[in-house]
Subunit: 283 residues, 2 copies
């Protein structure tokens, strides 16, 4: 990681999220094609947050990426987020840093929009794309899952189907109702038919406009600083956990836990004692 | 929390999880009735992990609990888990401790089985019930989401519908395939029709058998120790985060983040420096 540091910081990270069936993999493959036509080097991370116990990678429709399998300027990797400690937020930043330092111009991070994963992805991305499709009740789902607040760009895929304009109207209405600071980015809506490549160039153009806005407004720096802070914190916290749980350390945490279970202490008092024990941190 | 400590530790915590539509609220209400008939005091926490941005409580079908609304020995509370920092794992243990100390014999924690929430609930519960229903493709979903590994008890609700025996056969097969240590609990399967109260007494009996197993095997103590450790850690980590991000503290974390963004440092080196700065912890 230390060796990569000087080479990282150039890639634009694009998060793609949406419910199952909206066409995430097809859209990702179409975006890769469009970006490659512009001569860009592209990284793709497909993150599956639904499999807490499996260590394996689970990109079922990786086959759709076959067009790009032999292209040396495209790197594709699927990851499962193991366990609930950290989840997505633990392994993904490291993978992003490697792809960034390796010279990717754009990194697409694709994840299923379930639970909190899309919020985590949004925290890591420069541009977050929320994919919707007509006839899936996505308008209501959008409001419910809070994805309205994370989307920089809403893509209505399968827009040759009935109901695409209805979804767009609902989205427009909801975006219009959202409070937004003066000069803040107003989320764009693009209609696509990813399987035919329709609208994909507009998506790429909207990503470019969003990036220009981020640079001009200084928000790109703000987001990257926040992301670095989060990552440093996560690493520090993990190191502390390992120390607290380490077999060669004293069994302070076990002892505190026993006192809490016995009713002789409460978790807050125990946490204070645990933090005091940090004075004994080895250098 | 310090005042509650001596009174906590008696309640049996039962986690209930399952996909939308399997009948979680109806099952919870039926379990409350059965437990009340045994004279037990019951707490119910309905946790909604799907709403990261809303601070409100979202138990849509709270109306199903109306039978118990005037029963002073039943306490019902719905909670949204806010944001992704901590999620379920932050507020729920505190609510459990309050209900425990208040004299609840059993606390039912109901949550939708999406993403990682059911894993977090299982970590907090003494007994975890996974609810399934015929005709929802749950057999396959069970394997995919890893819920097989968290369920102490599988309840097939709506078992008057076609396919209940099919679900049971699939579950039996999968449970049979799971590696299990000598003397470990073998998950039980119970069929219910919660809306008619059918099979609910068997669920209560299975919970009792599981509790007896936990006590006899010493696993109840093991689980509670682990839970106390997790809770102490979470509180300590949150206190550290507040300190790292606190406005009155030095801006060390911001400076480290800026160095990482500039490519002058990497997150691992920065995390080491952040941990070293802990020597300056105020008492």
């Amino acid at each position: 990681m230390a060796g990569l540091a000087p080479y990282a910081g150039n890639a634009h990270v694009v998060g793609l999220t949406g419910s199952p069936g909206v066409g995430k993999s097809t859209s990702t493959a179409a975006l890769v094609s469009a970006l490659r036509e512009q001569g860009k080097r592209v990284g793709v991370l497909a993150v599956d947050p639904s499999s807490p116990f499996s260590g394996g990678a689970l990109l079922g429709d990786r086959v759709r990426m076959q067009d790009h399998a032999l292209d040396r300027s495209v790197y594709i990797r699927s990851m499962a987020s193991r366990g609930h400690l950290g989840g997505l937020s633990w392994a993904t930043p490291q993978a992003l840093r490697v792809l960034d330092a390796a010279g990717c111009d754009v990194i697409l991070v694709e994840t299923v929009g379930v639970g909190q994963s899309e919020v985590e992805i949004a925290a890591m991305a420069d541009t977050t794309i929320v994919l919707l499709a007509p006839g899936m009740g996505d308008g209501i789902q959008a409001a419910k899952a809070g994805i309205l607040e994370i989307g920089d760009l809403f893509v209505i895929n399968k827009s040759d189907r009935d109901g695409a304009d209805q979804v767009r109207r609902e989205l427009r209405g909801m975006i219009g109702l959202t409070d937004r600071a003066e000069g803040a980015w107003r989320p764009e809506i693009v209609k696509t038919v990813a399987s035919k490549g329709e609208g994909i160039d507009e998506v790429v153009a909207a990503i470019d406009r969003h990036r220009e806005h981020l640079v001009a407004s200084g928000e790109l720096d703000t987001r990257r600083l926040r992301r670095a802070r989060d990552e440093i914190e996560a690493i520090a916290v993990t190191a502390l956990r390992e120390q607290w749980r380490g077999v060669h350390e004293n069994a302070a945490l076990d002892q505190f836990a026993a006192e809490v279970v016995a009713g002789d202490s409460d978790p807050y008092a125990a946490a204070d004692l645990l933090l005091e024990s940090l004075d004994a941190l080895p250098d």
